[in-house]
């Protein structure tokens, strides 16, 4: 019932002001980010990998949930834009000593932050922060709970577009723990917006969200059926906790029925590509031979990830 019915990510000119979620972003905004990233890929291939776009700007990595990988990619991206980067790993226990998320942000904003990159274990944290910061500060969601991981979704789209071109003819399969996956949700929103006609989610019922079909996907409990003739296979990471939460009996059974092996990959198109947001659990959701095989584009995803984050930061900083 918040009074602001418009998309909190867009300013009054319809330009991107925060990147909180891929849901609700128009296709041309997504395409602008992908197109801009192409140029940044070029930059990452040069000797001098920096451009001066964000010189003098302060980017704060506000990680309430630890993550070396994602934080490092954002840091590299920001530094390549010549920004000043401050990393803050907020210890959750010090949070419970009294300083709320909003207090933390307010204190940092007073230190002339231009941009906050926020990762938090609770869905909606970046939205809350975005509602309370000064109008000239930009927020990028680096992953909130199960809700969204927009830069990951974007780099996955970039990767797909790079290898496959046109979304409008693709069959895409997302495999694994969709229930807990912010990556999967972002991927689904991006694919539907960019016109992908067939999105399949593959996994056991315990790992599928209620009414997931309402997001515009088809559910396949059987991986053999689900992978048939797909062009893109996107694997999700399986957390160990799922076994403890009575959602799965064992990693072994999961691997047998939902792990991506060469045999199962062979059901997809011969030129199908395999993506994984990382870090991989080899032998659980994906076989090493697939991860390191010729259809895997997992390593290029990482390079594209830096370019995408540079694109997002540049576009936001300039709006």
């Amino acid at each position: 019932m918040w009074l602001d019915p418009s998309n909190p990510q867009l300013n009054k000119n319809g330009e991107l002001h925060h990147l909180l979620s891929l849901e609700g972003l128009p296709a041309d905004v997504l395409r602008q980010i992908l197109d801009t990233a192409v140029s940044f890929v070029g930059v990452t291939q040069r000797e001098v990998k920096k451009v001066p776009l964000l010189r003098g700007k302060a980017v704060f990595n506000l990680f309430f949930e630890p993550s070396t990988r994602t934080r490092t990619t954002f840091e590299i991206a920001a530094k390549r834009l010549s920004a000043d980067v401050i990393n803050l790993a907020i210890n959750i226990s010090s949070q419970s000593k009294g300083e709320t998320v909003l207090d933390t942000v307010a204190n940092l904003a007073a230190m002339q932050a231009d941009m906050f990159i926020v990762r938090h274990a609770a869905s909606g944290a970046p939205h809350l922060i975005a509602r309370h910061v000064a109008p000239d500060i930009h927020i990028i969601n680096a992953g909130d709970g199960r809700h969204a991981h927009p830069t990951q979704g974007l780099l996955d789209m970039y990767t797909i577009r790079h290898y496959k071109g046109d979304f409008s003819k693709l069959r895409v399969a997302i495999v694994g723990d969709v229930l807990h996956s912010r990556v999967a949700r972002s991927q689904i929103h991006a694919l539907t917006t960019l016109g992908c006609p067939e999105i399949r989610v593959i996994g056991p019922k315990t790992l599928m969200p209620t009414l997931v079909n309402k997001l515009g996907v088809q559910v396949y409990p059987d991986m053999h059926q689900g992978l048939k003739d797909v062009d893109v296979v996107m694997m999700l990471r399986l957390q160990n906790e799922r076994m403890n939460g009575a959602l799965l009996p064992s990693a072994q059974e999961f691997y047998k029925y939902y792990g991506l092996t060469d045999d199962k990959l062979a059901l997809a198109r011969p030129d199908a590509i395999v993506l994984h947001p990382g870090p991989m659990n080899r032998g659980v959701e994906i076989d090493s031979s697939v991860a390191d095989g010729k259809q895997s584009v997992i390593l290029p995803q990482v390079t594209f990830g830096i370019a995408i984050r540079m694109a997002v930061m540049s576009i936001l900083a300039g709006n």
């Binding site: 019932m1 998320v101 609770a122 869905s123 944290a125 709970g145 199960r146 209620t210």
Partner: protein, 427 residues
């Protein structure tokens, strides 16, 4: 003090009155309706032109936050909020700190409330000590101290055997037991309705099954023990259907819903608005429609505010971390009127759900205005449109999903036991 309320439209749902009738009060009671008694020299005349005169509202759940949560709100502020909302009788849940499981605490609460001379306060006692769900409280002693019913508030039972014994014991004395139908395991860590919105927003969810299964347990044990049960805060279509069926089979069960659940659904969470983080969660639109239908046909006996003042510090947090609940005692009236208007149920039915019916559930002689009744009266202007500004609310809780919204219906005067305790624009 003799008071004459003139020119108002009197709506007394229990006695079936909806007509232009004056009201005459003396010595704390209603002495006449319609025609003045002989030689009635009023000390005060209240002009209720264009206003409705109805029984003072009876709110089945208002958290006063005393004892223990005084940093959140105090008796003073919340009682003021209540009478500003036209509420003249309220029940407060036992989830204070410490919980209301000792007669001394109950007496203190009643004493403090009585001294304020505002609404009547009816404490609901804890069913188990510390609300831990393990050992029974001294229900009879608590009843003597002033408790009108017993409840676990939001806390679960250790197991169904304890629940069974609690009901048996309460049934011994014919004490009503108020229960929230929510299976703790199925609801564990959940913060939103298990449906499309929770899936989109990635919020841990509570399935309808949590309510249905718990309700089934409660209704079965109620039948076994003969205990008088009141289901507090229903939330689902299936829940309503189960209560309807139980009533049809003659089970002495009543139920209520929070006023927000009559209007809002999971869709209102929008972009993670923590003001819409409520317990039970706001469910689907289909569930909301069933709740509204249940209110209209009487399956749901009462509407309450479930008033829960919460500090900004613990409310303006990411949705799942925010404390659940909304402030609402000042909005019970306008939101009930909103339901009346939208549903076509009519003012008399709507007002019944916040006057006569909850009074019957509480077991008090209130919620009606026949001669001889206590002069607990609410006078309100149904056409008055006002904007809900959290800062202007009298409650210390500013956490409302209706922040910034316009509502219709504002209390102009509230009388408790014949004393004018609230008059708008007269702090």
């Amino acid at each position: 003090m003799k008071i004459h309320i003139k020119n108002g439209r009197l709506i007394d749902p229990r006695n079936g009155i909806d007509a232009a009738r004056d009201v005459f009060i003396a010595a704390g009671k209603i002495v006449a309706i319609g025609t003045a008694p002989a030689n009635f020299g009023a000390n005060r005349v209240i002009d209720a032109t264009n206003c409705i005169v109805c029984p003072g509202l009876v709110d089945l759940a208002v958290r006063l936050r005393e004892p223990g949560f005084e940093y959140l709100a105090t008796l003073e502020s919340e009682m003021k909020a209540a009478i500003a909302g036209g509420v003249t009788s309220l029940a407060c849940p036992p989830d204070t700190d410490p919980p209301l499981d000792e007669p001394g605490l109950v007496e203190m609460l009643k004493f403090r409330a009585k001294n304020l001379n505002q609404a009547h306060v009816y404490p609901i006692g804890a069913l188990t000590t510390g609300l831990k769900g393990e050992r029974l409280t001294e229900m009879a002693e608590l009843r003597d101290a002033g408790c009108v019913a017993f409840s676990q508030a939001e806390a679960p039972f250790a197991d169904n055997l304890v629940l069974l014994h609690a009901l048996e014991y309460a049934a011994t004395f014919d004490f009503p037991v108020w229960l929230r139908a929510q299976d703790p395991a199925l609801a564990r860590n959940g913060v939103a309705h298990d449906g499309e919105i929770a899936t989109r927003l990635g919020l841990p969810a509570i399935p309808v099954a949590a309510e249905v299964i718990a309700l089934s347990t409660i209704l079965t044990l109620a039948r076994e023990t003969g205990a008088r049960i009141h289901i507090a805060r229903l939330s689902s279509a299936e829940g309503v259907a189960m209560v309807r069926e139980a009533k049809a089979r003659g089970l002495p069960v009543t139920c209520d819903i929070g006023i927000h659940h009559a209007h809002l659904s999971e869709m209102d969470i929008g972009y993670f608005d923590p003001n819409c983080h409520l317990m039970p969660p706001l469910r689907s639109q289909r569930d909301r429609e069933a709740l509204r239908a249940g209110l209209a046909d009487g399956t749901i006996d009462a509407l309450c505010s479930d008033h829960t003042p919460i500090d900004e510090d613990v409310k303006q947090l990411p949705f799942s971390e925010a404390e659940a609940g909304a402030t609402g005692v000042e909005l019970l009236l306008p939101l009930t009127l909103k339901w009346a208007a939208e549903s076509g149920a009519g003012l008399s039915t709507a007002l019944d759900r916040i006057t006569a019916s909850p009074a019957a559930i509480l077991g008090i002689d209130g919620g009606h205005l026949a001669p001889g009744a206590a002069a607990d009266i609410c006078i309100f202007d149904p056409e008055c449109r006002w904007r809900v500004e959290p800062a202007a609310l009298l409650s210390q809780g500013k956490n409302t999903p209706y922040s910034g919204f316009e509502v219709s219906g504002r209390t102009t005067h509230t009388l408790v036991a014949g004393t004018l305790v609230y008059e708008k624009n007269n702090k």
